[in-house]
Amino acid sequence: MSDVKKFLYVNRKAPYGTIYALESLEVVLIGAAFEQDVALAFLDDGVFQLTKSQETDGIGCKNFSPTFRALGDYDVTRLYVERESLEERGLTEDDLQEIMYEDEDDDWAEKPSICVISRAEMADVMAEQDVILSF
C-alpha cells in the first residue's frame, strides 16, 4: 500500500468554453483505475463546472455534468469546492448539483461528495498532496 499516492485534480476553468474541464474529467476517470487516493478541487471558474441544470443541446456539445455523479462508483468521493470562488460569482452551494456516494465503511450510507471549504482550507488540501494535476 505504500505506493498509493495522494492525487489532486485542480479545476479552475468553466465548462464548454475550453476543453480543459472535459479533459480533466476524462483523466480523473482513467486515473481512478490505478487505485490511488484521488480528490478533486474546484476553484475560480472551475466552480461553474458543477452547476445544476446544464443543457447543451443548443451548442452541440456533450453535457458531461452528469458524469460527476458517477465518480463515487470509481471511489472518487471528495470534491472540494472553494467557498470564496462561489461567492465571488454570486453562487451558493444550492446552485450546485447534488453528488452522492455510498460509503462502504458505513453500511453503504449515501453521503455527499461535495465539500465546500474556505480558501485557506483549500491551500491546506493542496499542501498535503503528493501529485497535483492542473486543468
Partner: protein, 102 residues
Amino acid sequence: MSTLHTVNKSPYMTQSLVSCLNHCKEGDAVLMIEDGIYGGLAGGQMAPIVEEMGKKVSLYVLTPDMAARGVDSSRLLEGIEGVDYTGFVELVTKHDRTQAWL
C-alpha cells in the same frame, strides 16, 4: 455607425469584457457568448462593474450558451437581453461592423 462587440471569455478569468466595455462607443452593442455569458450574472463581483460600464451600450447574452452552463435568465443583471443564434445574426446585420474580443 455602430459596432457589435462579442466577448467569449469569463470576466472572472480575463480582462476581455472590461477592456471591451472600456472601448465601446455610445450606441454599440455587446453580445456575451460562450464563457463570456458569466459576465451577465447578477450577484457576482463583476456585476456592479458590468452594470456601471454597460450603461452606454446594449447588453446581450446568447441563450444556448446560458442553457449549456445551467444559467437561467432569472440570474441575469437587469436590462440584459437574451438572443438565440437568429438574434445573433440580426445583431450582426444591424451594426456596421463586428469586433470579437478574444
